[in-house]
Homo-oligomer: 249 residues x 2
């Protein structure tokens, strides 16, 4: 894969705690922001339960449809941590002790503390490549284009730095935001015209309510800065004509 | 559908702003908590971009596999609001002016303010049933088992009350949490044994880091309170044996 091609990814959040509403997922926005910054566009996110069949089926679809798949959750020591075994099955790979991971955890824990529960965390698909974990020892892993990360947000974040060189992105996706003191319906038609004239720029319109006042943020996204600039000028033109106030946000 | 059967749902978040990482989705946890409280289990969540083909394809799958589908986002007045038209196409239904919605917005806005942009919000699939919006006027709608809600979290929340009588849930899903001052690997084996003896209770194990200390929350979920109680007793037994501290959280 060379630069300049479009590179995309799917995020697969594995965990009953998100589906029950008990836990608010924050890994999606962490991963999406990071991926965008290295030129990878997120095509889709799925949240699924800790059910082996569902994980395998979903992985098979996503790894085929996307350049990269990032999973979060299910790689800890307890009975509901079934991601590594499910990934093995999705690839038809053996599920076995990863020698390097074993050495890492044997060194990480004090003598006698590398117990049976912890040893579960070194079982991975054969030929998995490790993703090092500077926070809590137990590594994640990748197989082909699937990268498996933990569910705990602070640990996941700490592992992204080590991944950077293994993900080949396209052109970074640039964005520009214009926030206006208006409501969407006042600018809808003008915005449609600008979108029609700028097909390579993705224009999003997002109403907000901040400090007691309504407004709309217009977000322009493209790999091409000059196309964003031209689109921005066209928007500023109708904003001026309509005497709409531009606000900081 | 009668009570006592298992009822499930999928949530479909439509919006580029979630996939770009710009906006943190909170509608999933709002909907999931509310659905759980009325006995509907969330099977799956998907986040997809504002692309008509993707919305139609995804809806076709989800509405078949689930008792209910809830979509959020894409029902406003701007060019990137394409949910209503996409839902029409997914059902092979006409996309047309909904007379009742038209009347509601005609009354809601001051004379002259019900402009072309706002009129877009009354276009819906034929035979759509409205979901009233006590916050900002423009209603959501449902077609068969698909319920379309707005993306703005405060508006979405305000519309759930009006939906309650239209969703027939199963037995409410009960849950009980036990938080322990321990790490997962210390309890993994004991917890596996309890799970093996309690197949009807979903046992989740979630590490946390709070006020400078590590801990694990064990979450028991089932439609049956006595099964939760029995499972809880078995956990408290090994917790006592292992002299693990129970903490409030």
């Amino acid at each position: 894969m060379t630069k300049n091609t479009k590179v995309n990814a799917a995020i697969l959040i594995i965990g009953n705690e998100i589906l029950s509403g008990r836990t608010q997922d924050t890994n999606t926005s962490t991963l999406a922001n990071w991926l965008n910054s290295i030129g990878v566009k997120v095509n889709e996110v799925r949240v699924i339960p800790d059910i082996e069949k569902k994980i395998i089926e979903t992985l098979k679809v996503l790894k085929k449809e996307n350049n990269y798949v990032f999973t979060t959750g299910g790689i800890g020591p307890t009975h509901d941590d079934i991601t590594a075994e499910s990934v093995s099955k999705a690839f038809g790979a053996k599920y076995e002790i990863h020698k390097e991971a074993y050495k890492i955890l044997e060194t990480y824990y004090k003598p006698g503390e590398f117990n049976e529960g912890r040893q579960k965390m070194v079982w991975m698909p054969e030929n998995a490549e490790l993703i090092l974990n500077p926070t809590s020892g137990a590594p994640g892993f990748s197989v082909e284009n699937v990268f498996c990360l933990p569910g705990v947000p602070s640990i996941l974040k700490s592992m992204l730095g080590g991944l950077k060189n293994r993900i080949v992105g396209g052109e970074p996706i640039l964005s520009h935001t214009i926030s206006l003191r208006t409501v969407e319906s006042e600018i809808a038609n003008s915005l449609t015209k600008v979108q029609d004239q700028n097909e390579d720029v993705e224009i999003g319109s997002y109403p907000f309510f901040h400090a007691g006042k309504l407004g709309v943020s217009i977000v322009l996204r493209s790999e091409n800065q000059s196309k964003i600039n031209s689109c921005n000028s066209q928007i500023l033109e109708f904003v001026k004509q309509k005497k709409i106030e531009i606000v900081d946000r």
